[in-house]
C-alpha cells in the first residue's frame, strides 16, 4: 500500500499535526464530558483522521507529533514519561488505518466510525498499559479508567471522525437527508 511519502502525505501529515499541537495548547482539545480525567480529549483524533485518509505512515507521524507535543505540554508526571506520552501514540493512526481498510468494503460510513472507535481505544488502552508497566498506577485502577474514560472518549472520537472525514471525502447522501427544519410541524 505505502509507496513512500508523497507530497500529499507530507502536507496532510503536517497540517493535521499542527491541529494536534493546537488542540493541545488550547482548551478546545478537551471536551467536558464525564471521564476519570474530567474531560474527554480529542487530541488523538487528527492521528485517526490522518490514518484513515492517507494511510498508516501519515497516521504514525501525526501520532508522533501528538505524543511529543503532549509530552512537552504535560502537566501530569504520567505524561512527562516519553514511554507513556509518545510510544503508545504511534499506534493510534496505524490501527485506525487498518481497521478502516479492513471494513471499508462493507460500508464506508461504518468503517470510518469503527476506525474512530478503535483508534481512540488504542490510545486509551496502550497509554494505560504503559502506565501500569512503568508503575504509575495499579492494574485495577487502569482497568477502571479504561472503561470510564476510554468509552466516552471513543464515542466522542466516532462522532468527530465521522463528521470530518465524511465532509471531506464528500461521501454524499444528498437527497436522503432532510434538514431539521424540513417537514411539517402543524
Amino acid at each position: 500500500m505505502e509507496k513512500g511519502l508523497t507530497v500529499r502525505k507530507i502536507v496532510i501529515a503536517g497540517v493535521l499535526g499542527a491541529i494536534a499541537i493546537l488542540l493541545g495548547v488550547t482548551r478546545l482539545g478537551f471536551i467536558p464530558v464525564p471521564t476519570a480525567a474530567g474531560n474527554a480529549t480529542i487530541l488523538h483524533i487528527p492521528a485517526i483522521i490522518g490514518g484513515i485518509m492517507e494511510g498508516w505512515g501519515v497516521g504514525l507521524i501525526i501520532g508522533l507529533i501528538f505524543g511529543v507535543s503532549s509530552f512537552l505540554n504535560a502537566t501530569v508526571p504520567l505524561f512527562k514519561d516519553p514511554l507513556v506520552a509518545i510510544l503508545p501514540r504511534l499506534f493510534i493512526g496505524v490501527v485506525a488505518y487498518f481497521t478502516y481498510v479492513g471494513l471499508r468494503q462493507f460500508n464506508q460510513y461504518a468503517a470510518i466510525g469503527v476506525a474512530g472507535f478503535v483508534g481512540s481505544m488504542t490510545n486509551t488502552i496502550l497509554v494505560l498499559v504503559m502506565a501500569v508497566i512503568r508503575g504509575y498506577m495499579p492494574a485495577g485502577v487502569a482497568a477502571t479508567v479504561a472503561v470510564t474514560s476510554g468509552i466516552p472518549e471513543a464515542i466522542v472520537s466516532v462522532i468527530v471522525t465521522l463528521a470530518v472525514v465524511v465532509a471531506w471525502k464528500k461521501i454524499g447522501s444528498s437527497g436522503k437527508q432532510k434538514s431539521k427544519i424540513s417537514g411539517d410541524f402543524k
Binding site: G4, L5, T6, V7, R8, I10, V11, I12, A13, G14, V15, L16, G17, A18, I19, A20, I21, L22, V25, T26, L28, I31, P32, V33, P34, A40, I42, I49, I61, I65, L72, T75, V76, P77, K80, G135, Y136, P152, I155, V156, I159, V160, A163, V164, A167, W168
Partner: protein, 278 residues
Amino acid sequence: MSAEFELTRNITIGQYLPTGSVIHRLDPRYKVTAFVIMILAIAVCNTYLGNLFALAVCLVMFRLSHIPLHYGISGVKPAVPFIIILAIMQLLFYGEIARGGTIYFQYGFVTISSEVIRLVVVSAMRFVEVIFLSSVLTLSTSTTELTHGMERLLGPLEKVKFPVHAFALIITIAIRFVPTFAMEMEKMMKAQASRGADFGTGEWWRIVKRTKDMFPIIIPLFNVALSRAEDLILAMEARCYTPGAARTRYAHYRATPKDFAAVGICMILAIVMLIIPW
C-alpha cells in the same frame, strides 16, 4: 478587557523573536543537541537544589538571548491552574507511590511526607524549567533552522531508509501552521459566538450533545486546515517538489568553537544538575 477569544497571544510555539544574541547565532544542530541534553537532565533531576540550579540556568539563558522574560512567563501562566490541581492531587494521592522520607501527616489514605512534598515542588519547578527552555529555543531559532538542526541530527537514520527529509518537512509544516490555525480558530470562535454559540453548556452526561457543541469550531477548523493543505500540495507540485530528491541548501552551517563550547557547557550544567545532592 476581553481576553475571552485571544488565543494567539498565549501560544509561543513557532514564534521567532530575532534579537541577534549569542544564542540566536549558534549553529542550530548544536543548539538542538544542547537543548536535548538539558531537557533530559531536567527530566531526571529530582533534587531541590538541582532544580533551583536549572531554574537559574534558564533565567541566564533568557538574559543571554535578550528575550524578555515575560515570554517565558506567558507560557507558564495558562498552566498555573493545572500545576495547582496537580500539586493537590499529588499531595492527596501520591503518598503511596512516593514512599520514604519523613512522614508529616497521615490520615486515611492521605500521606504527606517529605518525599511527596519533594515530588510536588520538583514537578512544578521542572514544568516551569521545560517551558522556559523550550521558549528560549523556539524564540531564538527560526523554524527553518530548527528543522535543519533536527534533520541533521537525524541524518544517520537515512542509512536505514528512514525518510529524514520528509519527516523534517512535516514537522516544519506542522509548526508553521500552528499560529495560522490559532488565528483561524480565534476567528471561528468569534464568528460562531456572533451567531449565538456557547461552548460546553447542557447536561454534562450528554456526551453526544456536548461533543456536537464543539462542532461549530472543530469542523470548520479541520475543513480550513484540509483546504489549506490542498492549496499547499498544489503549490508544491507546481514547483516540481519531489520528496526524497537530493537537494542543495540555502543555508550552510559550519560549527565554530562557540558551538562546541555551548554543547560542552550544557553537558557540564547537566552533570552539575544531576550530582547536586538534596
